[in-house]
Subunit: 348 residues, 2 copies
């Protein structure tokens, strides 16, 4: 039916072993022989049987990239950078690596499922992006799975995710705490004393770290956070919209709203505007991530730029063994404060 190695071998009048070696390029083959084999491959339009190859070699060309939400450019940008470092020539069998992204939808169960599936496929490497869920049993389950993977020779890299102890995984963490702190310090520097905070889902590490940074800035400035100044939500626009209305209801005297990320900030802007408040004259707004669209907001969003593409590219290279892992297997990637039109001095 389909063309096999043996067919190619027969046509090129060599043994299957030789064809395999030509394809893999990991063994000396005379130039004339190689040419004959390649011609046969071409003429027969031969396509390697991946599963067979992976079975025999006990490893595959697959590399998995896990993301929380593929529809969110935050992950898209990272995934794109990772994939472009990982894909391309360099796989076994004269081929390319198959870099694929898997969408967990933020669900711990699906995350674990994908990990198992990739393990089953004998993936060469796995890159996990996005904050982890702070659920002890799940954390443990993931950690165990990661350990299994690294033990089996799969390289595991965490990108924008806290380190996983004792798993052999390399971690590139974002300094969410520092970024959150810088943002709030900037607002305090402008004179704000009454700041609302719209957090992400309570169980995510990213949420907690950004909030901790915010609170550290408040504490450092001697500002006591009033109850009700923090609302938890999701990382999307709608959540920002609703949370802002709630914040306004709880305390109309707030002069600034800090959002968990840019989408949330955009929702906040919409809610403020509908409530008849001007940005930044009446209320300042700040986001996080600096996704492409945040510069198009009117006014443009003050936010923290995370080097998503750079971090992703680095993670990809590490996963491929093309870059030394950071010392200790852990590196922290810092963000950069981007001050734009959405933040200004408080009213009065």
């Amino acid at each position: 039916m389909t063309v096999t190695l043996a067919d190619v071998a027969a046509r090129a009048q060599v043994s299957p072993a030789t064809v395999s070696r030509v394809l893999n390029g990991n063994y000396p083959v005379a130039a004339s022989t190689r040419e004959r084999v390649l011609r046969a491959v071409d003429e027969l339009d031969y396509v390697l049987n991946g599963p067979a190859s992976a079975l025999a070699a006990a490893t595959s060309d697959l590399v998995g990239i896990l993301v929380n939400d593929i529809a969110d450019p935050f992950f898209g940008i990272m995934a794109s950078a990772i994939q472009s470092e990982i894909g391309g020539p360099g796989g076994r069998a004269g081929g390319e690596r198959l870099a694929v992204v898997c969408n967990t939808g933020g669900s711990p169960e699906r995350e674990l499922t994908y990990l198992t599936l990739l393990q089953r496929q004998r993936a060469a490497a796995v890159v996990l992006t996005g904050g982890a869920v702070e659920d002890a049993p799940h954390q443990a389950a993931v950690a165990q799975k990661l350990r299994k993977l690294t033990e089996a020779g799969t390289r595991v890299v965490l990108c924008g995710r806290p380190p996983a102890e004792d798993t052999g995984a390399i971690a590139l963490t974002f300094d969410n705490r520092g970024g959150g702190r810088a943002l709030t310090e900037h607002l305090i520097g402008l004179g704000h004393r009454r700041l609302g905070y719209i957090a992400g889902p309570e169980e995510r590490t990213t949420t907690r770290h950004r909030l901790e940074g915010h609170r550290a800035a408040l504490a450092a400035a001697g500002i006591e956070e009033e109850p009700g100044w923090t609302v938890y939500g999701r990382y999307d626009r709608r959540s920002g919209y609703e949370a802002t209305l709630e914040l306004l209801r709880r305390d109309p005297s707030l002069t600034a709203v800090v959002a968990a990320n840019d989408s949330v900030a955009l929702g906040a802007c919409a809610a403020l505007r509908e409530s008849g408040l001007r940005i930044p004259e009446d209320v300042s707004v700040a986001g996080f991530d600096d996704l492409p669209f945040s510069i198009d907001a009117v006014p443009a969003l003050t936010t923290v730029r995370l080097p998503l593409a750079e971090a992703g590219a680095r993670a990809g290279r590490i996963a491929m063994g093309r870059e030394e892992p950071p010392p200790g297997g852990i590196a922290t990637v810092r963000g950069e404060l981007m001050v734009r039109g959405s933040s200004g001095g408080p009213r009065d």
Copy 2:
């Protein structure tokens, strides 16, 4: 080293064949035996060897989703919908299917490479999204590859992409022509007679179809398009920004700018605003796709909503054989005109 089927069989005191059957659930096994086997699987923490399984069964649990740009929510939204229909239980070997997305970056070569890689992996199905490139040799190469895939039993579905003749692929096409026409008709209905158009990359079918719709509307209204009213660019914000400045230079009397998509429209808005023009009082702007952020533009964008998630979900179900393919293997999905603040009557 790693646990194999045979180990499980030994532990459960049955033959490997029985274990395989329990796992695949495609052959009668006594309840007591099944239970014993499952217990052994659990105790040994057995993970099926995917490649071995795929080799023996001549098919895998892999399903590929090709996208042009994973960082663009247009594709992210579709991919997410496709993946959530495809992933989940239903694979062979008591497992889940591995739905993965591959980022071609819009490059025809990478598209072909991914197709080959998926073919090599003996993927169960492939879904291609996004407009095709109108390059004859490449079209032919892709068509041939798709034919090979369908002949080998891989289901191929095109989502938001023109049909590929004689390839056995099912196509769910977006009515870009109709959407483009509706949009321009709306603007003409408001009184506009001088409309600029910012197109996408010239070689993409999507670009051509949207532009054709625009021109059909002009023609129907008896408006003769002046040279210089159309600028080609890319599907991103920056391109929209630059193209708009160019349009303004060429003809400052334009009263409306129609953009190839929402990102481009946002760039156009920025350029207009920087040029001191108000939207929509001085110039109306329209986008395409209705991505989530387009409602946050100020003013909110008039655009054509494409049912990305619905189409993606349907494509996913068809790829899984859970929904009948449309008659003739081709279906057209229409968009819906969303009139919002960015369009209004012309100045004067």
